[in-house]
Symmetry: C2
Subunit: 325 residues, 2 copies
């Protein structure tokens, strides 16, 4: 099969399309004929050699895809060859075929075409598991999501808005902030010239944010704790601003707050399967109803993988970048 | 009534017994004739002016007591004048009488005398709410509690042991470690000459601690995160080792861990009442069965309050210090 191969670790130029053996489905696994694969920030880190795939995962980059079922492994029920599906992967998405545990396969929501379905698994599973399953965001709570114009951000804004939360978000340009507002953000903050702690406090009459979803890590740690409401939960899922930050335990204690750092990819298959089942139950109905939609920046053919990575690194995209096979 | 009065903020010598007006029960409150009051580390901070009582609370020190019901406020049901009880207080325990919301009143468990019952409310509510309700310690998980010989520590060891967890604890002398082992600690660690991270890893075959209960704050932050197991929860309830520490978010993220800092005293009455109800349901049966007992260092008369504070500051006690009225 054709698949993206990396010539060592480095910039986008190390990526090219080559030939690899077809995967075969192990017990409990399904092989998909891939139609499209979504790009994620973790893919850039993996390319740079900073985020090795978990043990047993494909060395091929790609944590989500859509496609049709090509083969079923021993013991798989509920799926048939030819079924359209999208999948949360531990790796291997940038290829013509990929093997995936059946629990990480999800149906394509009504009204979403098969290519755009590749934009859903990572963002839906990440946002649902972290914001709702881990941090327990409730209707009428306030939710601050950083990087509102990205793949995670655009999805988190829509989902939290639909579920009744007040949504505040940060981004770096007026165009991106307008896009966030159109998706349902109640308050938009330009991090280049506004202090998000001040803006959130003003907008909430001093209350703060019940849940913060952060991709900046150390750089925002102090201010994210400052902005928490009483019993607030800060969930860190990225470290674009470094990994070692000062934690003011006294501030956290006065707020009875929690700092949670988590990742989806390293979780065991049974946890990922439980998350996917919960996503299908709770998130897919909103997607099928057209209330939450995958925000796609654009699609590029698999052969343009290096250009796709360069685009993502530029930060000039808004929403998901997809590779089509 | 007689009550402990503080002559400004400072050392134990600022405390003495004086006269204050009797409290009257507001709606939903009960007034207790106090028999004994428990000392807590927060009392020392309050005396030093570092931990002001929450808004509306008595300025008199004392966060727990035992006694008999003296008067019922409007709307209180389930209690009668003369009933023995113990209570979780926002303040006011070092006195002949105290007013408390009825939800923070608990019956005295079978087999515990009324004086010793004053040693229970804070430790039981703190340990149960933080280790079990917040951190969700489960049977067969591993639990590390720092300061195993203190009031919180001795109770946490017993409760976690009885509920089926593997218990590891730190203390500073061989005598204290032996006392911890006798209460049910599986592994005891002398923090003066052993690295608790190494000892916990060795004792758990590299697994680590599912839950850490910490009273040291900044000083232990890095090592507490290091010692966490995958999906481990660090609960910080004290800052005896400072408040500003470096958090390695990358380590926390690889573990999908949580750092929670919390306090009991500042919680609203309805949360405290829910905690007390849960303690009565889950913890009191173990106390009544003699499986978990309050560890009391000794009792001293109210007039010796300054000496009692000096003893607690010395760290030479093991278990709770009680003032008798």
């Amino acid at each position: 099969m054709r698949a993206v191969i990396a010539d060592g670790a480095g910039g986008p130029e190390v990526l090219s399309v080559g030939e690899l053996p077809d995967p075969t489905p192990g017990p409990g696994e399904v092989v998909l004929d891939v139609v499209a694969a979504g790009l994620n920030r973790a893919d850039l880190l993996q390319r740079q050699g900073l985020y090795p795939p978990p043990p047993g995962a494909s060395p091929v980059i790609g944590m989500e895809c859509s496609g049709t079922v090509a083969a079923l492994g021993e013991g798989v029920t509920g799926w048939s060859v030819g079924d359209p599906a999208c999948a949360l992967l531990a790796g291997g998405g940038y290829a013509e075929k990929v093997a995936v545990p059946a629990g990480q396969l999800m149906p394509v929501p009504d009204g979403v075409d098969l290519v755009h379905a590749a934009a859903l698994p990572e963002v839906a599973a990440t946002v649902w598991s972290n914001v709702f399953m881990v941090a327990g965001l409730k209707p009428h709570e306030t939710f601050l999501v950083h990087g509102g114009a990205g793949g995670i951000g655009t999805f988190a804004i829509q989902l939290a808005h639909q579920l009744g939360a007040t949504v505040l978000t940060t981004a770096g340009t007026a165009e991106k902030l307008a896009a966030c507002a159109a998706l349902g953000a109640d308050v938009t903050i330009n991090y280049r010239d506004q202090d998000f702690v001040e803006v959130v406090r003003e907008a909430t009459d001093g209350y703060g944010a019940d849940v913060v979803l952060d991709n900046m890590g150390a750089k925002y740690l102090g201010r994210n704790v400052d902005v928490l409401a009483i019993e607030g939960r800060l969930v860190i899922i990225g470290m674009q601003g470094g990994s070692k930050g000062e934690l003011d335990i006294n501030t956290l204690l006065r707020k009875r707050g929690a700092v949670i750092a988590t990742a989806l990819r390293s979780r065991p298959v049974d946890e990922k399967s439980a998350i996917c089942a919960s996503v299908v139950e709770h998130v897919w109905p909103l997607v099928s109803a057209g209330l939450v939609r995958p925000v796609v920046h654009g699609t590029m053919p698999l052969e343009d993988v290096a250009a796709a990575h360069a685009l993502m690194e530029s930060g000039e995209h808004s929403g998901k970048i997809l590779l089509t096979i």
